[in-house]
Amino acid sequence: MGVDRRKFLKASAAAGAPFVLGLWIPPKPAMAGVAAPPGASWDREPPVPEVNAWIVIQPDDTVIVRIAQTEIGQGVWTSCAMMICEELQCDWKKVRPEYASSNRDAREQAPAWTLKVPGDGAQDPTGGGTPNMGAPATRNRPGGLGVPDSLYRRMRTNAAASVADGRYYQQLAGAEARERLLLAAARLWNAPVGELVAKDSVITHAKSRRRTTYGKVAHLAAATPHPNPEAIRIKAADQWTLMGTEQKNLDVPDKVMGRIVYGIDVKVPGMKWAAVKACPVYGGDVKSFDFEAIRGRPGVISAMQFGIPDPKLLRNHTFSGGVAVIAESWWQAKTALDAMPIEWAIPPKEGAFNTQNMHAALIASLDEPGRTRVNLGDVDKAFAGAAKIVEATYSTPYLARARMEPGNATVLVTDDRVDLWIGDQSPQETRYSASQITGIPEKDVYLHLCHLGGGYGRNGNGPQAEQAIMIANAHRGTPIHMLWTREEDFIGTTYRAMSVARLKAALDADGWPIAIEVRIGMDKEGFGPDASFNGVSRYFTPNYRFSTHTTTFHVPVGTRRGVGQAANEFYRESFLNELAHAAGKDPYLYRRELIGRTNLPYKADMIKALDMAAEMSGWGTPLPKGKVRAIALEERGGETKGAATISAMVHTVSLSPSGDIKLERVDVAHEEGFGFINPLSVRKQIEGQIHWFYNDAVHQAANLENGRIVENNFDRFPISRMAEDPPELNIRFFKTGHWLIGMGHDRATSVQSAIAEAIAQTSGKRIRDLPFNTHDLSWS
């Protein structure tokens, strides 16, 4: 059954349909002319010498741009290309993105002159902002921060930071290539380079009336090193001509034809399919399975047990051991696996967890001392002198990502090389996993990135790669495509932590807070407490105390879209509404006044966002009973003079007497800092996040019973549909004086507090635990 490498490649080249794989193999000859399938973009030799690692320009002026982030629907396929092409000054109509090679990234370093961030931080419009590239160069290190000085730098796709972190070095790459193209033409014409002009892939020299195109001089530029790359400068925001304009996403034409190749679509000659079942209780394993019961079924080839994937490869998350059935087709593998008797070894402590006892443990933890994170002023003294005390306890459940494409990976392990085809938000870490599991060095791991059918959190991919690598490593020479069922995908993902929060405020006689205390209890620390509460209180109070109270459960907890901000903003903005009502004040003006009292460096931008959203929504004009406007601020990073992202939204929500929630209208005021890369992508991300947090608010919860997740398909873990889309959506942007952090994951969290407010105003019921659809919301 083994496939010899050379024969495999020949077979690939000959197979023709449906897909022929491109494998980037240095040095070369065997692979010349082997193309990736339409809609895919995998490691391959460039057709002509590259200008630099990011850019290949073909004689017909086609510009191939290497994308080092993963396209998960957020638009990096386009925005990363825009950052490079802004500086390259090429013809945008001839730009073709393809994925950067994570294999080269394991072999090559980024040029030293690109490592220093230009400019003077978050408030310098001429600079690179404040990228968070993580620790200094550490090769062969697993963990969350990628490999900051390797060729393609930050290949991880997370924290909505692809633009914020990658902009400066992608601009530098485009600028370097442009200057080398100009140098090559100048030498060719024996003209001073300063007299040449580059625009839309055309280079002109007015004096001698000469003209050429990038495609004609690219081979010369490829052989012309830049004499002084340290002197290269990136364009300041006010010089942009491509960035800042609305550009349609470059992969959409393929997406509407069904031609984009996601990981699930990969086919390799000789490939077999694997279906897997992992123990549904995390930390559990396989006690026994009976392959004899299914051995004779059509297509079935083998079955194997795999152990609990090494937590060190998965950011210390403990998933489960499981069984794989390998067959000719996935359906054969899946149905055989369903018919195969499996006995699980379920650890008793983990198997005894359920939502009720876990929630009770979290609530109890709030009365323990916890860990004090912030303690400003004298909170206890202020409470002792309060005119009124308001206290509320909130809860949010575990939540899965539930991306539409179930976890999968295709892996071929031979004795000296690993090939993976996968949609992956952390290819550098997966490369490391492949090396650790197989013993084959990272420089011989070829991870061919595919588009992902939804991402929503870098480590939500769980052990999809690790399971597939373990299975393929036991079947060396045979490509194995492992695919999870939807139900298995709910076992293989990380979850946003269940958490509880107790907020307590001391109000003075006018209803203004003189002290606030926040206690958050959650499963493991890390993805929540540090967001939104861990600095000064966003709304001013002279005395502020914040503590976290940790309980450790067995569910793997990771960075799901919105991370901690999502739950925390539900807590804080709901509580602010409660305080405003206790004070008898307008929730918009109450917020406005409290922000005005702070010394936050970007408070003027926050107030502007609130004012703009309120004005857009017609705040204060009468609405019929059952219809309510609610406002909230969404802010990240603005406690210091660093990068920040500020928006405010007003949600108009109706609640029918029978308790049906309808989001009628959303008015969004969003800052654009010094400038967005692609405002169209920003709009789409805002639209999408309205649904994301609407789902969190209204529909979704992951509950546990006997240690296992109960909601494991879309019948029990509902996703909003067309009928729930707000009919009216208004989005306005305003310029501010700093770079943004990113807006792809924690915008529109305000949907949650807004719906709570609408329910409270309409029905008198203040719902403090999500999701709303588990409550009786009827009123009369």
Partner: protein, 152 residues
Amino acid sequence: MAFELTVNGRRHRVDADPDTPLLWIIRDQIGLTGTKFSCGIGQCGACTVHLDGKPVRSCSLKAGLAAGKQITTIEGISKDGTHPIQEAWKAFDAPQCGYCQSGMIMASLALLKQNPRPNDADIDAAVTNACRCGTYHRIRKAIHRAAELMRA
């Protein structure tokens, strides 16, 4: 067991258990991967194809039952992506991750063939597919645009 299926106007001889869901025959045997697997229980619609012009969720339909009928997949609606519904989708840049979009387009196209002037309520009732990225706002606009283009 072998049987015949007609997909996008072409006849294919399929050697498989006729109880296999149509989705897997389309993807694995016929090699058309634009139709997606997501939930496997007919909930999300990512696997939507047309059977004699009607939308069906192919993950939950036995392939044998599709024999003798016209099956249309996303690959069959145009050769070059210029069907009016595809043009409308492009005009609004509707997809995000794109995974559900083949099914969305097929469900929407089935609606437009049966109702050339759908209102918003018609769209809500007929297009019940799930999109985790939340692209509904643009999809609705694209359906209305496609309706105009298809009437023209």
